[in-house]
Structure formats: structure tokens, C-alpha cells
């Protein structure tokens, strides 16, 4: 039972999401068909079992020679074993297919998120994404377990039962056919329609709930401090009420399906019995066919009993699948070339020409015709007011944002002609809001360079002035940092991020506020160190700390997305421009 590699694409197309999922199971279709066959065999055996038992008894009551019924006796046993074994095989095969596809869907979601981050992911709350990945993906398994095989089995077995009855009493076969069609199509549809509203409400409510829960716990300290915890909890409770309400509606729909199914089954069997009894009374039907007929009708419904619930679950699976498709269908935030240009050998330099970025929807440009030169070995400091567009420059250079207009060049070629991952392998550094993973200090650092040896880790940590602290910890490098680094101080967290940049040591280094949350002596020492260590490499230093900028080659002042001043410290110090105003008016700056 080994499957070939499954293409993990949930490729964007116009087909309904459930069909796309079904298409993903294509390489496993052999197994899926096997499951359907086994399912049909199981249901068939069950129906035949009851019919045959009826035959057995009816015939026996006529006191025939024993041989006349011994075949049936053996067949009854064979059928009951056959039913059990085929049901077992069907379930194993269909679940296996479902779980394999599920895994592919999870991967496809992750791949999409990875391409979308950070800009494209922000439209979702992370807790909601979590439900899409966990609950919604799980809900789609009903497509394979309840959607495909029971339908096929019901059609096959129902058809066979009706055909068998046709040979006994044609009108009764007609009634049975009508009953089976009602039970197999009308009742499930009715259930699905009754549950539709609930299905549409439940999945989003589940997402909202998970989002509130994660947000609530992530922000618990702020909520408690501001006395807002009770209100936030009330919000979560309201979402819970929404979800419970949807659950209740689904319950009603399920119950409706069960009740209707019971009614249709009972009525059909009743009608068949009525016709049979009438025929017997008229002398056109004897006792054996009558028993077989009635019991076949009764047993045939075994093939359809599960369908109303399946229809409701399929409805839920459909909602889940479209929630998944919503993620996987989001367009790329940055263009990826179809044939990426290979990275040139170093050294690397970048140029921005009239770079303009407008964040949707419309609004003023965050970057407005900004030009910047970062040839190998040049160190440029980017300064300016909050919201001036500094981090946007970094995002553009790291291919996390697309330019609205203008060009960005890496060694003379459009940045967009390289694969984004390749670009980030040479342009990287320290983000403004570094994330610490819920792992150890060592793991969090090693992430920047997976193959790094211990000496390299030590060196990077030493340069970020982190080593004495790590050495003082009883668990050293193996100390966990807590959720989002909650168990380390702000300065320690910042240094860890800086150590990552040192360890990765890309040819083009972008540092966004590397010394935030640090004390003045540490800040001064680190900035000096940093600039000394990166000599010969292109460095973009984004900072609010105006100390030590005499060591950079160029200072660029941004304001409202525009370059308002540029030059070296010597030129700008007394130029009477924004740089001088910032320095003189405010004494020592910094975080």
C-alpha cells in the first residue's frame, strides 16, 4: 500500500474547491476505487444476508428436504464474513486516501503562507489560519470517507436490490425504487439544505474563536493591566455562543435527516409489504418470495441510511474547502520570475531608482521616488521620522514588498528577475520586530545558519554582547526563551536578533534599529563594533540613534517617503537641514 508522490498543488482554477481536492487524490484513485468496491461489497453482502435469511426461513417453514436449504445456510455465513471483511477494507482504504490528501493540503497551505508573508498574511488572524490548517483541513476528509464510497455503494446496492425485486413483484420494485431514491437523494438534500446556514456559520465562527483565544492569551498581560480581560472574555463567549448556535442548528438538521430517513424506510417497507400481501392474497405470490421481497426492501435501506449525515458533512467539507482555497488562491505579493536569473558571484551591490511604494488601498505613497546606492563596501544610514518609510525600503530590498513604480537593481539587474529566496540569501539582516521562537536560545540563534558550529555561535553571540549572559545561565544555550521570547528581557531579545544577523553574515546587511531597547553604553559600543565588523560589505543601517553616524559613508534622511537630505556626517552636521535640526534640537537621540 505505497502511494506515489502526490502533487501538492491546489492549483488555482475555477473548479469548485471540493473538486480540486478530489483531483488531488488522482494518484490514489486505484485505492479510492478499491475502497468504493469494498464498500459496495460490504453493503451488498449485508442486504443479501437479510434477503437470504428470509428465504431460508420461508423455505424451511415449507418443510423441504434439508439439502434444499443447506446452500443458503452456508451462504449466510459466507455473506456475514464477507460483509465484515469488506467493510474493514473499505474503511482502511478510504481513510488512508483521506489522510494522505490531508497532508498534501496542509503543505499546500503552508507553501502559500510562506510565499505571502508578511504582507499577504496580515489579512488573516493567525488563530483563524490555525483553524484553517487544523479543523478545516480535517473537515475535508469527509469528502473521501463519506462522500465518494458510500455514494457509489448506495447506487450499486440500491440498483441491485431493485433489480432483484423486479423479478419478484414489479410494482413493489417500483415502490422500492421510489423509496430508495427519496431516501438516497431527497432526504440527504433536505438535510444538507437545512444545515447549510449552520455550516456556513460554523467554520468561520470556529476560526474567529481560535483567533480570539490566541489573541487573548498572547495579549493577556495587556488585557489584565487595562482591566479589559473580562470584556475580552465576554467577546470570546459571544463567539462561542455563535458556534454553539451553529452546532445546534446542525443538530436539528441531522435529526431531520434521521427522522425523515426512518419515515421513508418504514413507509417503503410498509408499502412493499402491502403490495406483497395483496399479491399473496390474489395468489400470484407465494410465501418465500414474499419474505425475500419484504426483507430485501428492509435491508436495501442499509445502503442509504448514512447518506443524510454524509450530505451534511459534505456541506461542511465544502465550506472548509473554500476557506482553504481562500488562502491558497491569494495572489503572489511579489512577482516570481518564471525563469529566475542565477545569482552572480559576489561582491553584491544594490541600487534603488525612483522607488515608489503605495500600500493598498491607495493612500499616500509610503515611498516616493527614492533613489539609493549601495555598492559593495558602502555603509548607508537611513534615518527619519516614524512612518517615514524606512522599513518599507528594507522590505523592498528583501523582496517582501513589490515596488509600485521605479526599479530596484541587484548588480545591475532587476531585483525581480531573481528568485526571491535567492535575493534573501544575499540581502538579509535584523528585522525591526524580531520574532523569537518558542525554543531554546541556541535554536533561536542557529536558525540564521543551520550548519553553524559552536565556535561560530559563540562568536556571533559575543559580538552581540550576549555571551556573558548566556554563560551565566544554568542551562546556557539550552535555556528556553518562552512564547515569543516572553522569558527574556527586551534587550536580550534584541541582541539575540542581532546575533542572528552576525551569524548569517550576508553580503548585504540590512539592520532595522539594531540597538533598540539597549542602554547607551551598549548602544555606542555595538554600533561602533558593527560598523567595524562589516567593513567592506554593503550595509543599510536604519536607526533613530544619531550617535556614531560619523562612521557611515552616507546618511539619508527620509520624510513622508521622500529623501529630504543626503550626505555624510561632515557635510550634514552644519548644513542646517533636518539632520542638524534632529541632532542639535534634541541632544542625544536613541531608543
Amino acid at each position: 500500500m505505497s502511494a506515489g508522490p502526490v502533487p501538492a498543488s491546489l492549483a488555482r482554477d475555477r473548479r469548485p474547491p471540493l473538486l480540486r481536492l478530489l483531483a488531488m487524490a488522482r494518484p490514489l484513485r486505484g485505492r479510492l476505487l478499491g475502497a468504493a468496491a469494498a464498500g459496495a461489497a460490504a453493503t451488498g453482502c449485508g442486504t443479501a444476508l437479510l434477503a437470504l435469511s428470509g428465504f431460508l426461513l420461508a423455505r424451511a417453514s415449507q418443510h423441504p428436504p434439508i439439502l434444499a436449504i443447506s446452500v443458503a445456510v452456508v451462504a449466510v455465513r459466507a455473506l456475514s464474513v464477507g460483509r465484515g471483511v469488506s467493510r474493514y477494507l473499505e474503511r482502511l482504504a478510504s481513510h488512508d486516501v483521506a489522510f494522505r490528501v490531508l497532508g498534501q493540503v496542509r503543505l499546500a497551505i503552508w507553501r502559500r503562507l510562506e510565499a505571502l508573508a508578511p504582507g499577504g498574511v496580515a489579512v488573516f488572524r493567525s488563530g483563524d489560519l490555525l483553524t484553517r490548517l487544523v479543523s478545516d483541513v480535517d473537515a475535508t476528509q469527509d469528502l473521501f470517507i463519506r462522500g465518494v464510497t458510500p455514494l457509489l455503494a448506495a447506487a450499486l446496492v440500491g440498483g441491485a436490490a431493485v433489480t432483484a425485486c423486479l423479478f419478484i413483484l414489479a410494482p413493489a420494485a417500483g415502490v422500492l425504487a421510489a423509496g430508495l431514491l427519496t431516501a438516497g437523494i431527497v432526504v440527504p438534500l433536505a438535510g444538507a439544505v437545512a444545515a447549510r446556514k449552520a455550516a456556513r456559520a460554523a467554520a468561520p465562527a470556529r476560526g474567529k474563536l481560535a483567533a480570539s483565544v490566541t489573541e487573548l492569551l498572547d495579549g493577556a498581560a495587556d488585557l489584565h493591566a487595562f482591566g479589559a480581560a473580562d470584556a475580552a472574555l465576554a467577546d470570546a463567549d459571544a463567539t462561542d455562543a455563535e458556534l454553539t448556535q451553529a452546532d445546534r442548528r446542525t443538530a436539528t438538521a441531522c435529526a431531520l435527516g434521521a427522522g425523515l430517513m426512518s419515515a421513508v424506510t418504514g413507509l417503503t417497507v410498509w408499502a412493499v409489504l402491502l403490495l406483497g400481501v395483496a399479491a399473496t392474497g390474489a395468489g400470484s405470490l407465494s410465501r418465500v418470495p414474499l419474505a425475500v421481497l419484504t426483507l430485501t426492501a428492509l435491508a436495501a435501506f442499509e445502503a442509504v441510511t448514512a447518506l443524510p449525515a454524509a450530505a451534511i458533512q459534505l456541506g461542511q467539507a465544502r465550506v472548509a474547502a473554500s476557506r482553504i482555497a481562500l488562502v491558497t488562491d491569494l495572489p503572489d505579493p511579489v512577482r516570481e520570475p518564471s525563469r529566475p536569473r542565477p545569482l552572480p558571484p559576489g561582491p553584491f551591490g544594490i541600487q534603488l531608482r525612483n522607488a515608489t511604494v503605495v500600500y493598498p488601498p491607495g493612500g499616500p505613497p509610503a515611498l516616493d521616488r527614492v533613489s539609493l546606492d549601495l555598492p559593495p563596501g558602502r555603509r548607508v544610514a537611513l534615518i527619519g521620522a516614524n512612518g517615514a518609510g524606512k522599513s518599507t525600503v528594507a522590505a523592498v530590498l528583501m523582496r517582501l514588498r513589490e515596488l509600485t513604480a521605479g526599479t530596484a537593481l541587484l548588480n545591475g539587474h532587476d531585483l525581480a528577475s531573481y528568485a526571491a529566496d535567492d535575493v534573501r540569501s544575499v540581502i538579509s539582516g535584523c528585522p525591526q520586530d524580531p520574532h523569537l521562537f518558542d525554543a531554546t536560545i541556541g535554536d533561536n540563534l542557529r536558525l540564521a545558519k543551520p550548519g553553524a558550529c559552536d565556535e561560530e555561535l559563540d562568536a556571533a553571540a559575543a559580538r552581540a554582547r550576549l555571551l556573558p549572559w548566556i554563560a551565566s545561565l544554568p542551562q546556557g544555550w539550552d535555556t528556553p526563551v518562552g512564547t515569543r521570547g516572553a522569558a527574556v528581557s527586551g534587550g536580550e531579545r534584541q541582541r539575540l536578533a542581532l546575533a542572528r544577523a552576525f551569524l548569517a553574515s550576508p553580503p548585504l546587511l540590512i539592520l532595522d534599529e539594531p540597538t533598540a531597547h539597549m542602554d547607551p553604553p551598549a548602544r555606542r559600543a555595538l554600533t561602533a563594533d558593527l560598523l567595524a565588523a562589516t567593513e567592506g560589505r554593503a550595509v543599510l543601517l536604519i536607526t533613530h540613534d544619531l550617535d556614531g553616524l560619523d562612521q557611515v559613508d552616507e546618511i539619508v534622511v527620509l520624510d513622508h517617503g521622500r529623501v529630504t537630505e543626503r550626505g555624510c556626517h561632515r557635510q550634514l552636521r552644519h548644513a542646517g537641514g533636518p539632520y542638524q535640526r534632529l541632532r542639535e534640537g534634541l541632544g542625544e537621540g536613541g531608543s
Binding site: S80, A210, L256, R287, S489
Partner: protein, 588 residues
């Protein structure tokens, strides 16, 4: 294999009426099935003797009535059972969320948000089959076989004895197979919950992963966890299906035994046709409830495994005082070392911070799980209206000192008093109502800009919100947003720049009508001019309040009544909660 978890049963009480109704209707359905079988048998037997339709009218009419009643009972039973499940799930969910929120400020060793998110949704949904099917079935599995066997014995005692003898095989086999499921399902659920916790962490850290080319690698981690989950799930399913197979076979063999035995006796004329038919129709119904209970046991195994992890969280004790306060806000998270220092029941009157002095003498704080102090020997007297600056290198305990004043941690040793009352004895909720805080890494929430600023002052007027924003230097950029103060912020306000987020957090604290203002590096991420504006606000419009500010900016110190250097060179290690089992996978 325990039949039912007592803790789950306790929660089932919330839906007692629904559950009892489900069981009663289940019994009614059984009665109706027996009646239907008897009527069918009578009709078939009578017809066999040549009785025409007219003579059978009574039987057929009765049968119609039974069919109708059965449909109604099926509807009612299903509705009651599923509603019971919805009810219990909701109750458990609320409990879980509330408890986690109460535990949460201990951040470092609280439950992981992603895991709780997965538990509250997917985990609890796994309990549907438990409450809706397993529990009612458990009752029915005792009553129904008894009723069926009684009916069969009354009809044909030989068959009745055969059923009664073979019946116990079902629970026996079920128990034998079921023994092996527990560990496997636990593993299955753990993997899924871990995937949840891990996923949340990596999604939030995606920019960092991308910056270092590690996002692709995560694909591998997610692929590994999912395929492990698949094999764990398939392992449990294999057992469940095998159990179903074994039970089905034993039931089928028993049924076949009955069929053959009745057939033979029928053949030799020892048994009337009608009785034989009735026995044939009823025999499977005797085994069905037991088989169903076994099947539902397996179907709800994941749910019960999830419930176990949820109960483990609910069993984590809250710090002494938090238990007493009914509201969530009455919470403090205490270092383990100091848990229970406050005498039980001694909620002291809350000192008024507009007049009371806070005095800290030799205060030491250690985080839970760590014995080395994060804050060591702080001495500080805080008079009303003072501006106090805390300075010191990273990790010396400035933020910890502020957390102490917020009652997120309690002093391990030393004296911490407010207006002469031990800080640890003051109800946290009322105490915090007098405090506004700018954390070192503020969190903004889903909602509008105005909602975020008014977090601690929900009834504030728009004018007051705008004043606070102006004071924090946020007014200009907020007004430039597409819908101004009503602009919705996405989670963590990703659409704002870091400095802008900080300014919103400042506005939020400034707006709160609180005499004590705790500012943890309030000008971090702010440009020099914006930082200077905050300095001016602290010394100007905010001067009436008591302000404690942890800062690294020299200009921020001007005008301070005291400048305290926190800590020597001693630093504490973080709490020793084991890292997430998947955490290492981020790297390798």
C-alpha cells in the same frame, strides 16, 4: 479501558435533560423496533397462510403507526443527543478559555496559545461522538439487549438462550481490542495539538524565517508532523476498524447460529414460522447496541484524549488570590517561591494611589521555575506625583520591577507595601484599576484604532481619545489613515510602522484615568522628535500623576525626582519550562 471518564461525566450534567431525553427516546426506538419486527413477522406469517390483505388491515395499520412513531423518536433522539454535545462543549470551552486567561500573565510557563486555540476548537469537536452517541449508547447497551433477549425468550426460549450466551462475547472482545487504543490516540491528538502550537509560532515568525531562508525548511517540519500524525491516526483507526470487524464477525456468527438453529427446528416443525421470523429480525438488534458502543468508544477516543489535555490545564491551580476573585481581573500570577504568602481570605482594602506611598525595601523577585532573582534587592519609595526613572543594563530587572507593581509577579523576599498594606494582599483587579502601563512590547488588538486606544477606558469620548493620541504624537498619522480613528487594525497592527504602534500604546496608557503610570521604555522605536514629545508630555500634561519610567534615554531623565539604577550584575535565568518538542525542528 474505563467506561466513562468521571470528569467528563461531571460536565455532562450541564446537559442532563438532553441526555436523559436521548436515552429515553433511544429506548422508545428499541421498543418500536421490537414492535415493528413483531408486526412484520405476523403479517408475513399470516400472508403465508393465505390470509388476504383485508384480514391483515389491523396489523398493517398498526405497522404504519409504529413507522410514524419511530420517525418522530429518531428525530427527537438525534436532536437531543447532538444538542447535549453542543452544550457540554460550549461549557468546557468557556471554562478552558477563562482558565487560560487567568493563568496567562505568567506568559513564560502558561499554556501555549496555539495549542489552546486548537484544543478549544478541533479538540472539543472530537467530543461530539462522546456526548451525542457514546454516553447514551452506554445506557442503551445495557437496557436494549436485555429487552430484546426477554422478547426472544418469550417467543422462543432456545434462541433466547443462544443470544444470551453469545452476547457477553462482544464486550469481552471490545475490551480486549480497546486496551491498545488509549496510548495511540493520545499520541495522535498530541501531534495535532503540537502542530497547532507550532504552526502559530512559525506563522507569526514567518518574516524572520523568510529573512534567513528557513521558511522552505518548515515545509519539511510540517510534512513530517503531518505524516507522523497520519501514521498515528491510521494506527488508532486500524485498531478501531479491527475491533468493529471482530465484533461484527462475532455478532454475525451468533446471528447465523440462531438462523441455522431456528431454520432447522422450523424445518422439522418444532417452531412456528411467525416466531422464527421474529427471532430472525430481532437477533441483530440484540448485538447492535454493544457493537455501537464499541464503535463510538473509538470514534470519541480523540475527543477524550483532547479532553484529558484540557483537564490537565484546568487542573493547573491559579495563584491563591485569583481563585477567590470571581472576575478574571482579580488575578495575580505569583512566583512559585512566594505562592500563598498572603494569608487566605485577607483581602486588604485597596490603598488610594493618589495619596498612598508605595515603598519597596530589599525586594527580590524570582520567576516561577527559576531560583535566581530577576530583580535583586530593589529599594524604592514612590510618593504620589513623583517622576521616577529606572535605568540599568539589559536584564537587570527594570521590567520586572514594573511587573511587580502591576502585581503580575509578587515579591519573593523583602517588603513591598502600598499605603502600609502588603502589596500581595491587595486584590489585583482593583489595584490595577489605578494603573496605566506601556509594556516593553505592547500588544494591539483586532479592532479599530479608537478601540485600541480606549482599551482601558471603554467609555471614553472621541474627544478624549483624540487628546490622548495627540499627547502621544499619534494624532497626525491616525488622521491620515483611510478612516481615521475608525480604521480597523489587523492583528498586531501590522499595517502600522513600529513607531506608530508604540505611539498607540502610549495613547492607550495616557487615556486611562489612572494615578500611577508605568512606562517601560516608552520611547523605544520613536524618532528623536517623537521621543522628545513624549518627554514633554511626561513633564507637562501628565505631571500630576505618579510616573515610573524605565528608560535608556538620557534626555528622558531630566526632571525626574529620583533616578534609580536597577540591579547589579546579577541576572536571572528564564523559567525552565521545557522548550516545545517541535521547537528544535525550527533549526535542524
Amino acid at each position: 479501558m474505563r467506561a466513562a471518564d468521571p470528569r467528563l461525566l461531571r460536565h455532562a450534567r450541564a446537559a442532563r435533560t438532553c441526555l436523559i431525553l436521548a436515552v429515553l427516546l433511544g429506548l422508545a426506538v428499541t421498543g418500536l423496533i421490537v414492535a415493528q419486527a413483531a408486526l412484520l413477522a405476523r403479517a408475513l406469517a399470516a400472508a403465508a397462510l393465505g390470509t388476504g390483505g383485508r384480514a391483515l388491515a389491523g396489523t398493517l395499520l398498526l405497522l404504519l403507526g409504529v413507522v410514524a412513531a419511530r420517525a418522530v423518536a429518531a428525530y427527537g433522539g438525534e436532536a437531543a443527543a447532538l444538542r447535549a454535545a453542543a452544550r457540554v462543549k460550549s461549557q468546557l470551552r468557556r471554562k478552558l478559555i477563562g482558565h487560560c486567561l487567568r493563568l496567562a500573565p505568567a506568559a513564560a510557563d502558561g499554556p501555549r496559545p496555539g495549542q489552546v486555540g486548537a484544543q478549544a476548537t478541533r479538540g472539543l469537536d472530537g467530543l461530539d461522538p462522546y456526548f451525542a452517541r457514546y454516553l447514551p449508547q452506554l445506557v442503551l447497551s445495557v437496557l436494549v439487549p436485555a429487552a430484546v433477549v426477554a422478547t426472544v425468550i418469550a417467543t422462543d426460549w432456545v434462541s433466547g438462550v443462544v443470544i444470551a450466551v453469545t452476547l457477553p462475547l462482544i464486550p469481552l472482545f471490545a475490551a480486549l481490542v480497546g486496551l491498545h487504543t488509549k496510548a495511540a490516540t493520545r499520541r495522535q491528538w498530541r501531534l495535532l495539538a503540537q502542530l497547532g502550537g507550532h504552526f502559530l509560532d512559525v506563522v507569526q515568525g514567518l518574516p524572520t524565517l523568510k529573512a534567513f531562508g528557513r521558511a522552505k525548511f518548515q515545509e519539511g517540519v510540517i510534512a513530517t508532523v503531518t505524516s507522523e500524525h497520519r501514521s498515528a491516526a491510521m494506527a488508532t483507526l486500524r485498531i478501531a476498524f479491527l475491533s468493529a470487524l471482530v465484533l461484527e464477525l462475532s455478532a454475525a456468527l451468533a446471528t447465523a447460529l440462531v438462523a441455522v438453529e431456528t431454520g432447522l427446528r422450523l424445518l422439522y416443525g418444532h417452531l412456528p414460522y411467525q416466531a422464527a421470523l421474529l427471532v430472525l429480525l430481532l437477533t441483530p438488534e440484540a448485538y447492535l447496541p454493544l457493537r455501537a458502543v464499541a464503535a463510538q468508544y473509538h470514534a470519541s477516543a480523540e475527543g477524550t484524549a483532547a479532553a484529558e489535555t484540557i483537564f490537565a490545564i484546568l487542573d493547573t491551580p491559579l495563584p491563591a488570590r485569583a481563585v477567590r476573585g470571581t472576575a478574571v481581573t482579580g488575578t495575580a500570577v505569583t512566583g512559585t517561591a512566594v505562592r500563598g504568602t498572603a494569608p487566605p481570605g485577607a483581602a486588604a482594602p485597596v490603598p488610594d494611589l493618589r495619596s498612598a506611598t508605595i515603598s519597596l525595601a530589599g525586594v527580590t523577585v524570582a520567576y516561577p521555575g527559576s531560583d535566581r532573582p530577576a530583580l535583586d534587592g530593589l529599594n524604592l519609595d514612590i510618593g504620589p506625583g513623583e517622576l521616577i526613572a529606572l535605568i540599568g543594563a539589559s536584564g537587570t530587572g527594570k521590567s520586572t520591577a514594573l511587573r511587580l507593581l502591576l502585581r503580575f509577579v509578587d515579591a519573593g523576599s523583602g517588603i513591598a507595601r502600598a499605603g502600609g498594606t502588603d502589596l500581595a494582599a491587595i486584590p489585583a483587579g482593583q489595584w490595577r484599576a489605578q494603573i496605566a502601563w506601556v509594556p516593553q512590547h505592547p500588544r494591539l488588538f483586532q479592532g479599530s484604532v479608537a478601540d485600541n486606544i480606549s482599551l482601558g477606558q471603554p467609555r471614553a469620548s472621541r474627544a478624549a481619545i483624540m487628546d490622548a493620541a495627540r499627547l502621544a504624537g499619534a494624532a497626525a498619522f491616525v488622521e491620515a489613515l483611510p478612516h481615521g480613528y475608525d480604521t480597523p487594525l489587523d492583528e498586531q497592527a501590522a499595517r502600522l510602522s513600529a513607531g506608530e504602534r508604540q505611539q498607540l500604546a502610549l495613547a492607550r496608557a495616557f487615556l486611562r484615568d489612572a494615578p500611577l503610570l508605568l512606562l517601560d521604555e516608552p520611547t523605544a522605536h520613536l524618532a528623536p522628535d517623537a521621543a522628545a514629545a513624549i518627554d514633554d508630555a511626561i513633564r507637562g500634561p501628565l505631571a500630576g500623576r505618579t510616573i515610573i519610567v524605565a528608560t535608556h534615554r538620557v534626555p528622558g531623565l531630566a526632571g525626574a525626582s529620583q533616578v534609580i539604577t536597577v540591579g547589579g550584575d546579577r541576572r536571572a535565568e528564564p523559567a525552565s519550562r521545557p522548550a516545545s518538542p517541535l521547537a528544535g525542528a525550527v533549526i535542524r
